[in-house]
């Protein structure tokens, strides 16, 4: 097979990838140096680095950054823990395992907006099932969606419910690659279940954990659907994410130039965090390799 024919086969897909992923980022770079809003009659007017300065001094941007990070850290770590537990459970030889696997994957398959709407009803104060249960137990109602200190946790809960199955399935795939004779050998040596988990499962699962963390972190840092439908960013902007802020700038305030700046800012944060995570992992695995 001639080489150029291979590239010809890849060309359409690569072209679309460039158009959908690379071109927008380039476009944002340009747009972030242009004022394009109602004030300029929606025409781009070059203004240099002004919007980047505005970003730097924008309290709402930094607050949203903090809120997005808080949301991502909480939901990703919760998903990893629960996902590992579910994966270990689904890895057990149980009857009805494949049906259980499918059922546990259902939350992941649902559209985020659908399930966000569902959770809004579940978190309802006072008629949602949780608050009704609390009432039956004689406890006060929880203002899930109206208290700035609680609402972000409700969002974390809903996100965890939706994406834990995905993490669990990734980790389950990893578990299935570990040969079972390793556990048998460990059992012959008298290792406890906890020791096998720490000494065999976790080390061999590390690559899968890392893939799951990187993927989930990137997705969580771009959280949008869930927040927009569940809370709309409220109460009092306490759950607004970076993506939602950028969306509002474009669609509500019609400030496209600044929206592009915000999107690039979010991308930079994403790149920084995921890049650091990947580098740390690479560095630590190399270090471990040398120690061995």
């Amino acid at each position: 097979m001639r080489r150029w024919r291979l590239w010809l086969l890849m060309a359409p897909a690569l072209a679309l990838l460039l158009a959908i992923f690379a071109a927008p980022l380039m476009h944002y770079l340009w747009l972030s140096t242009q004022a394009q809003s109602v004030l300029t009659g929606l025409k781009p007017v070059p203004i240099g680095a002004q919007q980047w300065l505005r970003l730097w001094n924008d309290g709402r941007f930094w607050q949203d950054t903090w809120q997005t990070l808080r949301f991502s850290a909480a939901s990703v770590s919760l998903e990893m823990l629960l996902g590992l537990a579910v994966a270990l459970l689904l890895h057990q030889p149980l009857c009805g395992r494949s049906l259980l696997r499918t059922i546990s994957l259902l939350p992941w398959a649902l559209p985020t907006t659908v399930m966000a709407l569902g959770w809004r009803w579940i978190f309802n104060d006072p008629y949602g099932p949780i608050n009704q249960l609390l009432a039956v137990l004689g406890l006060g109602a929880m203002p899930f969606l109206s208290n700035p200190n609680i609402t972000w946790l409700a969002a974390v809960g809903a996100d965890t419910w939706k994406t834990t199955p995905f993490v669990a399935l990734l980790l389950l795939a990893g578990l299935q690659t570990i040969p079972s004779d390793l556990y048998e050998a460990a059992a012959l040596e008298g290792a406890t279940a906890w020791q096998s988990l720490r000494r065999i499962t976790l080390p061999l699962l590390t690559p899968y954990l890392l893939i799951a963390v990187l993927f989930r972190l990137a997705q969580a840092l771009g959280v949008f659907d869930l927040i927009q439908v569940l809370t709309g960013g409220g109460p009092a902007g306490s759950t607004e994410s970076l993506a939602l802020y950028a969306y509002l700038n474009a669609m509500r305030f019609l400030d496209f130039g600044y929206s592009a700046t915000l999107l690039l800012g979010s991308f930079a944060i994403l790149l920084l965090l995921c890049g650091t995570a990947a580098l740390v992992w690479r560095w630590s695995s190399r270090l471990q390799g040398e120690l061995r």
Binding site: L16, I20, H27, L106, A109, T113, L169, G174, D225, C274
Partner: protein, 263 residues
């Protein structure tokens, strides 16, 4: 025990929606006890535009995106699996990075694209960005599957005198059917669920796909809401997907799993 907990955790919220959708609003807000009703579903199906139109729109977008994605991803994955190791590795890393990229960050540029090229409010045009966003995952899955087919099979076909198209049509694609099915299902799932781009590309209410339609229903106030109708909408919106999951559980799970192992 742990299994029951998992079942409850996964199904509980969905069952609650089903329960709510069948109860009159008064019962839901604690003002009456009153029985069961299909009123919410009737309302939903008779609303303007009817909810079924929304579902149909989602099916159209899902089907066209899946077809376009596969049409682009299959040749690309074939070439990638036959490319030299070093080039393939670099390309695969880029594709994997794109697979993890949160699509919402692209909405603004894609919005401008839709405006400049008059693609807004056209259901089929939506498959262009959707195919672009799904390509990375599809390429990764299909490349791994192509690499699993022994190279001798293709060489045997080559010696038989088959050209590239004949080899793909008669030898490789039939063997790829399971992988193509599972990538196709994942793409369909993505298109069915995608929100930010549908939100910005579609404004006519009779063209809305499921995700933005649900959000539009939610757009009313947080406090006084016809929750029964919401619940009915979540049930109807989820039902096709749940059906799809149950029918094709093996393909979907193997698709995700393969993606994890090979990616």
């Amino acid at each position: 025990m742990a299994r029951m907990l998992l079942l409850l955790w996964s199904l509980g919220p969905m069952l609650w929606q089903l329960y709510s959708s069948l109860r009159p609003n008064e019962a839901l807000s604690g003002m009456g006890t009153g029985g069961w009703t299909l009123e919410h579903y009737r309302q939903l199906l008779q609303s303007d535009p009817p909810f079924l139109t929304t579902l149909l729109n989602s099916v159209v977008v899902g089907a066209s995106s899946t077809a376009l994605t596969l049409a682009l991803a299959v040749p690309c994955a074939y070439a990638l699996s036959r490319l030299g190791r070093r080039q393939a590795r670099a390309l695969t890393a880029l594709v994997a990075a794109a697979a993890a990229f949160p699509a919402v960050l692209l909405f603004l540029a894609l919005l401008e694209l839709a405006r400049d090229w008059h693609l807004a409010n056209q259901l089929l045009a939506l498959s262009l960005p959707y195919a672009g966003l799904c390509l990375p995952l599809a390429i990764l899955l299909l490349t791994a599957a192509f690499a699993d087919i022994p190279i001798e099979l293709e060489e045997a076909a080559l010696i038989e005198g088959m050209g590239l198209w004949q080899r793909l049509r008669w030898i490789l694609l039939p063997l790829m059917a399971p992988a193509i099915a599972s990538s196709g299902l994942l793409v369909f799932l993505f298109s069915w669920n995608e929100y930010p781009i549908a939100l910005t590309w579609l404004s006519r209410s009779d063209l809305l796909t499921l995700a933005p339609a649900m959000a539009r229903i939610a757009g009313s106030s947080v406090y006084t809401i016809p929750y029964g109708a919401f619940a009915a909408a979540t049930v109807l919106g989820s039902a096709p997907l749940i059906l799809l999951m149950l029918l094709f559980q093996r393909q979907i799970i193997s698709g995700l799993t393969q993606g994890a192992i090979k990616g």
